[in-house]
Symmetry: C2
Subunit: 540 residues, 2 copies
């Protein structure tokens, strides 16, 4: 028997309609690419999104078509998010920090019909425009005054002209909530980027779950500044969750430096912000250098990589709580947060810090488990570490236009590629990446832990641990090390540095010294390349 409740699809357009109707005068403040601060309200954002939806129809964008963006966090990008998805098309955010060939590949693979981009990216787009086989219209996200006098792009359209020349009368269409809403590619360290195609349902459910008090805690009492780029997994969903809850939004534009972020936090009374550790390092350095205090910032959500304990301590001095977030493009992205439980109330600081430096426990809707290489589930005891698998309504079921591969198990879980422990309370801690973990005599050694220890040595600038084939143990750890300029250290000194810090059999067998380690365009260490470099390495 069916329940007798209203049958309403979960649609992205409904988020904007809600904010327009019940949070009409709440502000969206943007640092523009052109320079000045722009401020308007959800009411105005909704009005302009409807104009843009009409404009897109005018450009021939139909239900299911993809519209690409290369853009910073700003109000025009916000409008594109809602206009494109709201109209039933697919908002395809492209990471402008990738190599030109990757950007071209992604736009062509996504079959983007229109490409909208910020002024900053005009040179990049000019360079690749001829290769973009599916793009019929190029739209520069600026006003007439800032349009270039010359460009190699034929018939370059002006965003403001497009919006202003269309009516704001538009009825957001209703359709199946499983309809595709947006598309984002994840670039691994090898191979072509892979697309994740989100749906309206997954996006709205993710907005609900990521807004919960234990997740990102988004409300109309918050002023939220997403520093995480909107081209990076939908800005961790914040454009949606803030709209759902009527939070004031502060979009910091292209300048993610300490000066600009500090200025916005103070002038706009930001209560919550989110981004990777690097930006908070810059913010804290700026504060330290200029003896500045951060006021009113209750919480920083840190994701992308783990927050160092020293950062947590420094932010605490400003009265700012750190919440660790773990996620992936494949998870929309929110998976776990390091939020304490009722039983932790009153715990001492070291205990809480230990929690905060874990990746956290699953937000409702996400299931997590660990399995060994044979797929056998391992206990949640905080000790056993295994391959992390996840599932949930905002986890991808397959990559866009790819065959099902070993990314998923037969019983429907997604292989994250992370090696983790899960403790009795459900808190997960990343130990390594599946492909980087070193398999020695049937046991696993965490490459990350080996690296974390060695970068503590005063002479070491960067360190990478890789498994190299070993006649007896299958693999043994080899450390590739870059020394600090002018510093020196011997192999034996560095090997000795591990003593007492880890189990004896985890100790690396050798150290090689390099000028630099190989990295991707987005700064990820390419261990694959390192392994290739040392595939013929002979143990002494």
């Amino acid at each position: 028997m069916r329940g007798q409740m209203m049958d309403q699809p979960l649609l992205i357009s409904a988020l904007l309609k809600h904010a327009e109707t019940y949070h009409g005068d709440t502000e969206i403040v943007s640092r523009t690419v052109e320079g000045p601060i722009h401020r308007y309200t959800y009411r105005e954002a909704a009005r302009r999104s409807r104009q843009l939806a009409n404009a897109l129809a005018g450009l021939g964008v139909k239900h299911g078509d993809a519209v690409g963006t290369l853009a910073w966090n700003g109000y025009r990008h916000y409008e594109i998010y809602f206009a494109v998805s709201g109209a039933g098309a697919i908002c395809h955010t492209v990471n402008p920090r990738l190599f030109a060939e990757q950007i071209s590949y992604i736009i062509n693979h996504g079959e983007d019909q229109v490409l909208m981009f910020d002024l900053s990216f005009l040179p990049q787009v000019e360079q690749i425009a001829a290769e973009l086989t599916t793009v019929r219209h190029f739209v520069l996200m600026t006003d007439k005054a800032n349009m270039p006098r010359e460009t190699s792009i034929d018939n370059l359209l002006c965003y403001e002209d497009l919006v202003n020349s269309h009516s704001d009368e538009y009825e957001w269409p209703e359709f199946d909530e499983n309809t595709a809403s947006s598309l984002c590619y994840t670039s691994g360290t090898t191979g072509n980027p892979k697309g994740v195609l989100y749906s309206h349902r997954s996006t709205v459910l993710h907005a609900f779950a990521s807004s919960l008090p234990d997740s990102l805690d988004i409300s109309a009492q918050a002023c939220v500044m997403p520093v995480v780029p909107m081209f990076h997994v939908n800005g961790w969903g914040l454009p949606y969750s803030c709209t759902m809850n009527g939070a004031k939004l502060v979009l910091p534009g292209p300048k993610m430096d300490g000066v600009n972020l500090y200025e916005l936090i103070e002038s706009e009374n930001v209560t919550m912000t989110a981004g990777v550790p690097t930006v908070w390092m810059m913010l804290l350095q700026h504060c330290q250098r200029n003896h500045l205090k951060i006021h009113g910032l209750k919480r920083v959500v840190i994701g992308g990589s783990a927050a160092p304990e020293s950062m947590i301590d420094q932010l605490a001095e400003h009265g700012t709580e750190v919440r660790q977030l773990w996620g992936m493009t494949e998870l929309s992205p929110c998976g776990t947060t390091s939020t304490p439980k009722f039983k932790h109330i009153g715990c001492d600081t070291p205990t809480l810090r230990q929690l905060q430096t874990k990746q956290g426990r699953p937000i409702y809707g996400v299931g997590i488990r660990i399995v060994d290489d044979g797929g056998k589930p391992l206990p949640h005891d905080g000790v056993a570490f295994g391959n992390l698998q996840v599932r949930g309504p905002w986890v991808l079921s397959r990559y866009f236009k790819r065959e099902l591969d070993n990314s998923h198990t037969d019983d429907g879980w997604f292989n994250t590629g992370d090696v983790v422990t899960i403790d009795r309370d459900g808190y997960m801690k990343i130990t390594d990446r599946t492909k980087d973990v070193i398999k020695s005599g049937g046991e696993w050694i965490s490459s990350i832990e080996l690296e974390n220890i060695l970068v503590g040595h005063p002479a070491v600038a960067e360190a990478a641990a890789i498994g190299v084939v070993h006649p007896k143990w299958d693999e043994r750890p080899l450390m590739a090390v870059v020394l600090k300029p002018g510093a020196s250290a011997t192999r034996d000194e560095l090997i000795g540095y591990y003593e007492g810090k880890i189990a004896k059999w985890w100790t690396p067998d050798d150290v090689v010294f390099l000028e630099e380690l190989p990295h991707t365009a987005t700064g990820k260490l390419q261990k694959m390349k390192l392994r290739e470099m040392f595939k013929d390495y002979q143990w002494k």
Copy 2:
């Protein structure tokens, strides 16, 4: 094009599985009907729910069958919630405070196959058992030691025997999320009670939305005591939302008096509780009488009827914030909460109090609007008042086993029967009930406002305003008044009391004095009966 995200139905069983897996040792504490405090964990609750699901199957309960309950807030009632719905059957909570005939009607209309009830209700059930035509099994929610020696009920089953005699191995079935999950009847002032049939989807979406920071703010850091009965619109959804978020649960059993509630708040460190104003009045009186301070209770959510300002002030002295909740059985029940916005931060107490005494702004997912009698939408300006209509995925689409009637508009909105204002910020304030508003010369007069003023007169114990037919103005207000014992007041004195307090044309035309006013079993004023009493009233 469909998004490529995992296809997972929103099911109630998943809430329990999540709590079991990631909040296994979080407590559920119950004051039992038998007396003592019972405490166990989500892990244990999940285990026993699986045993119960097996037991229900053993009793022949099939997918879509209804299981009725007459029970207080306790762990066995919690297990029934999850076992019945989780198995695909319908958990039908019946309000034991209704008249016997209404209870029989509701159980028969719901076609309950099994009836489970607390010891307190054994006499009531014995009285009506013969009339319950669909019930095949009666289960007393107690252990062997507390089973009655004699009862008129044939083959009365013992809950603990049932649970303990079944295996805890049970796979919660997967099915369509629109499947009916639970059933609750709303008793108006006239006619037969009407059933609202919730679905798994509506229940889980309601749990998400009602857990949001601006709604009830439910998290694993909270210890929640639902004082609102679990037979009253699923305990405002708290059994679900607390399970979703792994909050510690405190179930206060049959004793909702000041002594018991205070004791539980203090001994269990309750951080949040929810219920109708009456219980908080009792709690505050108990504290005042015994010079007690409430510790650690951050928030009281008040619904059912409006919280008086004096109660908000008194709770504030204990460091407890009041959040007003408006809802209906037809809304699962959460509709609006009186939570402030970012722009209200730093407002003075009177401004905040004004917000807090409103019913509040819609939680995400709920749409609200006001229309005049012709169905024309009225402005959200805080002044215009009209019929409140709502919609959303946890609003009923029709009453259970009833034809569609004027409860819904042609464009799919539900008529709440409330007359309200909505201000520019979306905050709704109830002015009257649709059927009680007095229509004078094409304009509306709020009967509630007339009553609220008159009960401020020192001689008046209770007052009701009704519209009585008037030759010139259609209707004019007549006040029915009960004086306090020993007090006296004249008609002219009471009419004069309105001077300067309302618009002149709102002033009632006459007053009649009565010994008592008619009420329903649940204490609702029966204005319908009053109107009938005075239908032949002649204006002088």
